[in-house]
């Protein structure tokens, strides 16, 4: 047997209904997640999932309609100006892939700007779908250079779409949407933005960034739970793609047509995750919208940087390129340091951090998005100091 132990509502491994001798006792509260997501969410967001809703029922589909409305509003967009939002079951990756599977015509070609794992993931999607593509790579610590895109599009006229990741959570780097989008538009290309970990945390000017398709996910900076992604797009650009979809599940045109026909998902929606997201959107509004959320995340980030800097940790990125979403830190060179022990000891104290994902440099990552406040970052930093000392590492670290 496994799952939740009697009455305690924890998700530890339980053998034969009683904890195995080596299993720790369940803690009084959940560990805090300093990750790129899934994130720590408010209790009220999770409590919204204590209901079973019928996917065909008008009451549930009123919530779905409200979520779609609210997402447009949050993005500063409107139907009158031709914008739409499509929810899609699955993780954020499913939403990103759905845009390519649905919107690139058989003879299309995508220019992918890549400076991290999520840009490379787009390349993998295009390979799987046998969609022609060209990749413009920049170093993992360097934002994309608009001139490089301009040169590519001047030289290669067969490109039809340009794709970029806004905040590459591999490093936390922010790529410059506006100059890149303007160049794509100048050359008549459609501009696709993976804004997975930035939407909700940073203002995004869709019109001046010339965005045609933007993808994000329920469990990122809106602070919902995982279960679906959403695509904000120009309706005309999407509906021009009706015959292209290479997958039924990932067909965004079909999905939008169903929402427009009867307000319903085509296939079983993650009803509980949607109820949680409706609550999360309400809490984002109560907090003061994106500007207030950005302020909180910036305070979190500042608290983290100051604390980590006092402990001698060095961020991987130059400050100008660093987002307030997630930060990669260089692994200490101290021979007594091991990420495994570091992670385990922080976890035992109730803090979950994230491993690095860089190809060349050893790092670990700390996210500061989700239902976290500066005091949580202070406690994390204090625990990091304690754990480093317990591991026998010199502090400040080297």
């Amino acid at each position: 047997m496994f799952g939740i132990s009697d009455g305690s509502l924890r998700f530890r491994l339980v053998k034969n209904s009683t904890p195995a001798p080596h299993a720790p006792l369940p803690a009084a509260r959940d560990k805090l997640l300093f990750t790129p997501g899934p994130l720590t969410t408010s209790l009220s967001v999770k409590e919204a999932m204590l209901h079973d809703a019928g996917s065909w029922d008008v009451e549930f589909n009123t919530v779905v309609a409200g979520v779609r409305e609210q997402l447009l509003k949050l993005a500063g967009l409107s139907r009158e100006e031709g914008w739409e939002t499509v929810l899609l079951q699955g993780s954020g990756t499913f939403g990103v892939e759905a845009v390519f599977q649905t919107c690139v015509p058989p003879q299309g070609k995508v220019a992918v700007l890549a400076n991290g794992a999520y840009g490379e993931r787009i390349v993998q999607m295009l390979k799987h779908a046998r969609i022609e593509h060209v990749v413009v790579r920049s170093a993992e610590d360097t934002p994309h250079e608009p001139a490089a895109l301009d040169a590519l599009l001047t030289q290669d006229r067969t490109v039809t779409h340009v794709a970029v990741v806004h905040c590459e959570t591999t490093t936390g780097i922010l790529n410059p949407l506006e100059p890149l989008g303007r160049i794509a538009r100048k050359h008549g290309k459609l501009f696709i933005v993976d804004a997975m970990s930035s939407f909700g945390a940073l203002p995004i000017a869709f019109e001046s960034c010339c965005i045609d398709f933007l993808i994000s996910s329920a469990n990122k900076c809106v602070e919902g739970v995982p279960g679906f992604s959403f695509v904000l797009c120009r309706r005309k650009a999407l509906m021009a793609c009706e015959s292209f979809a290479r997958s039924l599940s990932l067909d965004l045109c079909g999905q939008l047509k169903a929402f427009e026909k009867n307000g319903q998902f085509r296939f079983t929606p993650p009803t509980h995750a949607i109820l949680a997201f409706a609550q999360a959107l309400q809490e984002l509004e109560l907090e003061g919208g994106i500007p207030a959320r950005e302020r909180r995340y910036r305070r979190n980030h500042q608290t983290l940087l100051e604390g980590m800097s006092a402990l001698g940790f060095r961020p991987y990125l130059r400050p100008a390129d660093q987002s307030c979403i997630i930060t990669a830190f260089h692994t200490p060179s101290d021979p007594k340091y091991s990420f495994e022990a570091f992670y385990r000891e922080l976890s035992a104290r109730g803090f979950i951090i994230y491993p690095g994902k860089l190809t060349q440099v050893d790092t670990f990552r700390i996210g500061n998005i989700g239902r976290l406040f500066p005091a949580d970052l202070e406690q994390l930093v204090a625990a990091i100091g304690t754990v480093m000392k317990e591991m026998g590492c010199a502090v400040p670290v080297k």
Copy 2:
């Protein structure tokens, strides 16, 4: 504003934080879902979602490993005998499509047995993926005839896979897996079973039914919440398909390799839905496994049939072809009957039923799976009688 009203945890539309004048007051409890899913689940299953888990964390991935183990055990399968289970984000349809997108080689051809909307959905998937296929249709009230499949496979040697829906929830009809699977095996074809609404409710003998791939979903008869599907398959058959996947998200080989490498999903898992599913599996075991669950569903179904029959309603299917999952009833011919009013009045009394999905005949459907008991079906039937009379229809109905 929309979403949950203050403190009441209901998912009704709320305007400006106070209910609109026409909005009903939130009820004390959720409506019961007499549908094919999402279903009514136990409170403890939903309470398992009151936790945020890190997708990279060992504690969470221990739960994932436990879920995969338990699913194999529930199916009566073992790794030693070459079986595997793969969880995939998204609804059940995503899991079914993933099997075709991953497992049919470029020159492959699928024979689809279709007698309802879910068989036809498989045809749509194959069209989207540009996979060659042939469809053997039988009438919506008639189970597939093994001899017809035998004739097709004898005549068309280019077919590589046979696909069938076990319980077609369009009607509730049960298709005969064992003779169909034996014929597929005799001709050397792989046998793919969509067991969305039957797995967990009915025993399925994988070996004697010659099943290679079987797909079901978290929110069906295991009584979890929606968010992911799962595929039970012969590992060898799956891993022989490594280069075929036409989609990254739907690539089941990649998904299995990640589980085998580090126990993790490749892309953000629906952590809350998985915690709920672990709890649901535990509750299925506590109930007495599939035999006990089948008995409860059969009692529910019997209660429904007897009650509806006393009210004069006629089931669409012959008794021998009818599953204990969901039942389609003929729409009453009484001119005073309208489905819309019928649905609305039952909903107002706390009962959510389901519309028909047949192409030729007017029906409505009542499911009896999920956390429902005979007493719930009795109450539903009583409410149906009351609503019919209030609509001015003759009872027993004509």
